[in-house]
Amino acid sequence: MSEQKTIIKPGIQFHQIQTNKFKTNLLAVFLTVPITKEHVTENAVIGTLLKSGSRTMPNQEKINETLEGMYGAVLDSGIEKTGDNQVLKFYIEVIDDNFLPKKEDILTKALQVLLEIVFDPYLEKGIFKAEYVENEKEKIKQIIESKIDNKAAYAIDRCIENMYENKAYSIYRYGYVEDLAKITPENLYEAYIKLIHSCKIDIFASGNLQEDLSKKIQESPIIKALPERKVNLLKEENLSRIPKPKIVEEHREVTQGKLVIGLVATPEQQQNFNYITMVYNAILGGGANSKLFQNVREKASLAYTTSSNFVKMKENIFIRAGIEIQNYEKAMQIIEEQLQAMKNGDFSQEDIQNAKNLLLSTIEGIEEEQDAEISYYFGQEIAGNALTLEEYKKKIEEVSKEQIQQVANQISVHTIYFLRD
């Protein structure tokens, strides 16, 4: 695997990832902008609206007919939050030409289809088609309202919202129902033009590619029409320690309680803080060997799911557990004991090695999945790093016990959120 980066024009980059592991080629376009309360909802609508029609494929029927004819090419999109930025992601996955029943060049076609969908939408009288806009507004409304359907994900989102009140990171990536009403075909089209003229654009191609696709991209009239831009991404200050944790309880109709604890770290000029914290987090709640799994689940039988995860961009750890509602106190006590044990250095070299093995195998797995590989290079791009997977592994291997214990003492509980009946 190797990544080759080409600057198409300022603010627009192409990443070609060469790999022979897959039956498919995966192409992607990512549009990245600072997340703001004002624009988040319209961007979310744009993210789904673009799949309604393009200049030569004016409706979904035509788009889907085209994709089916390309041996079931899969067009996908997603709206995500990376740190304090909103990312609109568009993918197309096609079977590699070598595995088709008869020879065809569907890769070039896939690239055209993807670029056209993102940058050359279907318009009527110079603006988006009203019917499409209404449908997609309704769809976003439904997505926002269905947040509650998945209780585990809902609890995490709610913990973040409470933790980051009035800050960019609390903004929900799909936006807000009350802001949908203001959206019209005119102002949405204006917002779209502004978006594609100012956002950071990253184009990816992963697969067994026989040629350098950057030329095709550079020569595409669609890309030529895009102006160069100066990219400004948002990075707000991370949360710091508070004297007393914020406690939030929410009542919903659930049979199992969902506990989410948000932790903050206050790194004191710690070099390699993120790599050390990754190891810390793996010992605390990474896998079946972790302190949480062993103590909350295996020893106390309080939960089936319990783990923790580390959000690098915001330097937060989120602990979660699905527990019997009356066991809240018990679970809290055991979890606090684990945090204290980490501070006291109550973990062995073996625990550290286990945690590192877990992380190393995750890193080694990155190049085994095309979307994981693209996400990795995008993460590097956003963080302003250019770490190869080998270098990444080395950073993890170098973490020492002293460093982990030092980090443990910089970590504190910020918000305790409990979803219960």
Binding site: F99, I143, S301
Partner: protein
């Protein structure tokens, strides 16, 4: 070893039945860094009544026992837990239980030899005590509670209750709080001794290795067991036709979710060909470019594509169409209308285009070692050779698909399960 291959997608596999009856399937993938090993036994939640081959004793076990057994397999006599041992090697390890099988697996880039030794050791060495069986009850109890809050799981279980009168697919895989309270170490040993015999098991390994060496390595870890005759499984006789046309439940959801099902005869032959035909039909009827989807999308009765599935084993077979809509009944009506229309006229061009799409879907399943290994395991449990989906694809013509449409999409075998929002 018997070599099987698909020249179209340039993949091959080796199949061997060992002396003790264990089926081994090896799929070499030279370009990956990974190896994925999965060891499955044909023992799932539906197998709750059987005759123990060694004693001839007929027993009926509490619901959820296959899943309980899966949880307890990791515990070892030396006090270690094999899941911890595997994870400490940096190996991604797991296990799962379905309606018709249980599987233990791991995936790794390094430490494969140690991990395979551990996997084969723990699956062959059960260690159940009163205390360790008791301890698991709380954990599984929480797992059941987690599913209780999951609308999509309730939707599926209710659909099964509509489709079947007696079939044990109606039983929740994990059982209930009540049924698991009756599980003890004796029950677990009875089930282990019956179903974890090599002749009832399949091992699949996919990744970068030499097949001959891998086979030898697997053989070196096998513990000798006396041969076992076939297990007699007792299933209640399932009546023809569906049990109940419609079932509805209220839960906390933002918009109703629905699952439409068609009960099918369990396929005895041409399973693969029929499966391909049903996938083509489901895409024509309710896929993304279908008239149904486009019509309902415009009316804001559907917002995202429908989940289309055909589930079958030797004991059950049904078609499932699931999604989310303000008005599930209208989706069902539209579906019936589309089925009628397609029965009257199946446009050639449409058929060919969807057939191409289904081919692409099959090829894309060969992207990761995990997907490949799991696919071979679950197909083998059904007596299917996985490459047949690619190889038989060309033989599925429009006439055959029309025949399957006429036989399997019949209103009298149709049910619908709905989970809708609470009116509070």
């Amino acid at each position: 070893m018997k070599k099987i291959e698909s020249t179209l997608i340039k993949e091959q596999a080796y199949v061997e039945k060992l002396e003790n009856g264990l089926t081994v399937i090896l799929i070499p993938k030279p370009f990956t860094n990974k190896k994925y090993a999965i060891w499955g036994t044909k023992f799932g939640s539906i197998d709750n009544h059987f005759i123990v081959p060694t004693t001839g004793k007929e027993i009926q076990v509490p619901d959820g026992v296959a899943h309980y057994l899966e949880h307890k397999m990791f515990e070892q006599e030396n006090g270690k837990n094999s899941l911890d041992v595997l994870m400490s090697l940096g190996v991604e390890a797991n296990a799962y239980t379905t309606n018709n099988h249980t599987a233990y697996l791991f995936e790794c880039t390094n430490h494969f030899h140690e991990a395979l030794a551990e996997l084969m050791d723990y699956v062959q060495h059960p260690y159940f005590t009163d205390e360790n069986v008791e301890k698991e009850r709380g954990i599984i109890g929480q797992e059941i509670r987690m599913y209780d809050d999951e609308p999509s799981w309730k939707l599926y279980m209710n659909a099964m209750e509509c489709l079947y009168h007696q079939n044990p697919i109606r039983i929740d895989i994990a059982g209930t709080q009540e049924s698991i309270s009756k599980i003890n170490k004796e029950t677990l040993y009875d089930c282990y001794n019956t179903f974890y015999h090599p002749s009832n098991m399949v091992m699949v390994v996919c990744g970068n290795f030499k097949p001959e060496e891998m086979l030898q390595e697997i053989q070196s870890h096998i513990i000798h067991k006396p041969l076992q005759s076939t297990i007699t499984r007792i299933y209640p006789k399932e009546e023809q036709g569906i049990c109940q046309k419609y079932k509805e439940q209220e839960m906390e959801v933002s918009m109703p979710i629905f699952m439409i099902g068609f009960k099918d005869e369990t396929p005895k032959q041409e399973q693969v060909k029929k499966h391909i035909a049903i996938e083509i039909l489901l895409n024509m009827l309710a896929g993304k470019s279908s008239h149904l989807y486009q019509t309902l999308y415009k009316q804001q009765l559907l917002f995202s594509s429908l989940d289309l599935d055909y589930e079958f084993s030797e004991q059950y077979a049904h078609i499932l169409i699931a999604g989310q809509s303000k008005e599930p009944k209208k989706v069902q009506e539209q579906l019936l209308y589309e089925i009628q229309k397609l029965k009257e006229n199946m446009p050639e061009e449409y058929f060919e285009r969807i057939k191409k799409k289904v081919y692409g879907d099959y090829v894309a399943e060969y992207n990761t070692v995990g997907d490949i290994a799991r696919m071979f395991l679950s197909d083998t449990m059904k007596g299917i050779q996985t490459f047949d989906y690619i190889e038989q694809y060309a033989s599925v013509n429009k006439e055959y698909v029309k025949k399957v449409l006429a036989e399997n999409f019949d209103e009298k075998n149709m049910i619908m399960s709905v989970v809708k929002e609470k009116n509070s």
